[in-house]
Amino acid sequence: MDRSPIIEIRSLTKHFGQFRAVYNLDLTVNKGDIYGFLGPNGAGKSTTIRMLMSLIAPTSGNISIFGKSLNSHRNEILSGIGAIVEKPDFYLYLTAEQNLRILAKMNALDLDTNQIHKALDQVGLLDRAKSKVKTFSYGMKQRLGIAQALLHDPELIVLDEPTNGLDPVGVKEIRELILRLRSEQNKTIFLSSHILPEVELIANRMVIINKGTAVIEGSVHELLNSGMLTVTFSIDNIEKSKDILRESQFSSSVLGFSNDSNLHIKLSKERIADCTSFLVDNGIGVDGISSTRSLEEYFLSITRS
């Protein structure tokens, strides 16, 4: 199976005045991934997605999608992406069918009524095709959002909290639809959420972002089921620690870095002392060590903070 990178984000940073919304974010999403983009509210998920979709300009850093720079190949890249960005807003004075027709035309597609109805049927809105969107509930708009994201058969689907506002049946349907899109059509899905169990159920890889920085990244299975501890070292030199850890026996255990001073690493209880010694022996000052038993516990701790 082709596992080439679809999204490559390098050193992505976005400032709004003095406020740092995203800082030095790196991530790679490969073809066929359902990639969970997890973080508490205000972590920088939507800002990152807006940068991915060319809605806001990064302060610094690079975004490549389909192997091309978003900066220089914007239209070409966007024609291969279907997305819901934050809330599912539509032209309220138009019907569901008219909204989809307009959006298809913007993607240079001239769809006939049958094709539009098929897209609406896929999300259970066929019977409301002729209704104005202003009469829709939030959940129905969310479904319409998914329909418009899939309308032009994109290679990459970016979904920002797609189950917001849906009832439990709707959540299950959307989850199944996402899994089907991956298994039957090998679509790549970038899924943002603030709910760990939601990502856990469908994603194969994930990143946790907090205060604009990736703190943990890896395979969902490994992150959730290894039975190891998630250990956070408060250290005095992040850049140096990155260099020395890269070449060390701990390189594959590193989960990420945050807040300019925290190193997150997956370790067994017995190896915490070894890792501490390794850092100190290499000139890294360790100011504190904390550990959590599971990823969920860790995620809840940053969500609460």
Binding site: R50, L55, A57, I77, A83, D89, I102, M106, A108
Partner: protein, 281 residues
Amino acid sequence: MMHFFTVLSIELSKIFSKGRSYIGFGAITILVPIVQAAMYSEGEAYFALFTQGLQQQFSFTGTFLNGYLIAFVVLQSLLVHVPLLVALVAGDMLAGEATGGTYRILFTRPVSRHTIVLAKYCAALLYTIGLIAWMSLLSMGLSLLIFGPGELFIVSSSITVLQQSDILWRFGYAYLFGILSMATVASIAFMFSALVENSIGPIAMTMAIIIVFTIISALDAGFIRDVKYLLFTNHLISWRLFFEESVPVDRILLSTWVLGGHSLVALGISLFVIVKKDILS
């Protein structure tokens, strides 16, 4: 290029799917026949009152109350109010997307922001042309049907009587100039629409600018005297120049440059703002 016309047709369909877009056409459809009905019943008395002072020096035979005079009166009175009707739609072109949160679905399509802004601007201009065309059709066509043609009697700083054969082309140019004037108003409303994220702001700002500039234009003091010819409000009613016996081409050209310049600057600012804008709504 294909994308531009696709987006333009989408923008026009959006304009005509909104109720507010019909307010202008509705207002003109109601107001013009009211003026015509009033002139039909009270026109002779109105004309006599209007020319009361002149009748001591001149003798009037026959009637000057005809379709051309009514069209002239309508043009004069409606162009005062049409800016509001134009701003109602042009001011919503971009701000409406921000208010509705639809920038997010619009600007994530494989169409450049330049293309979208230009298509929206052209759609607002086509709406403006449609509004003036409807106004001219009702005021001129219907008035000629009801009152018939005749000589056009105009009193301003001087008295001008235009022969029937010398009128139609003047109206043609006057309506074209009216389109330019209202296109300038539309451009300014469009620019404010790019700057703010609510639909009422651009309309209020456009009308405020027109009122403030009109007041400044009326002042005849100091440096204002030297620069007021640059204010677009000074040129909005330059269509009247086409009804002077000898049409002052140089003044019309100056007005065209000033209005065209304002429109281009407003479009340039709109493009710059939207292309650079971080979409946070």
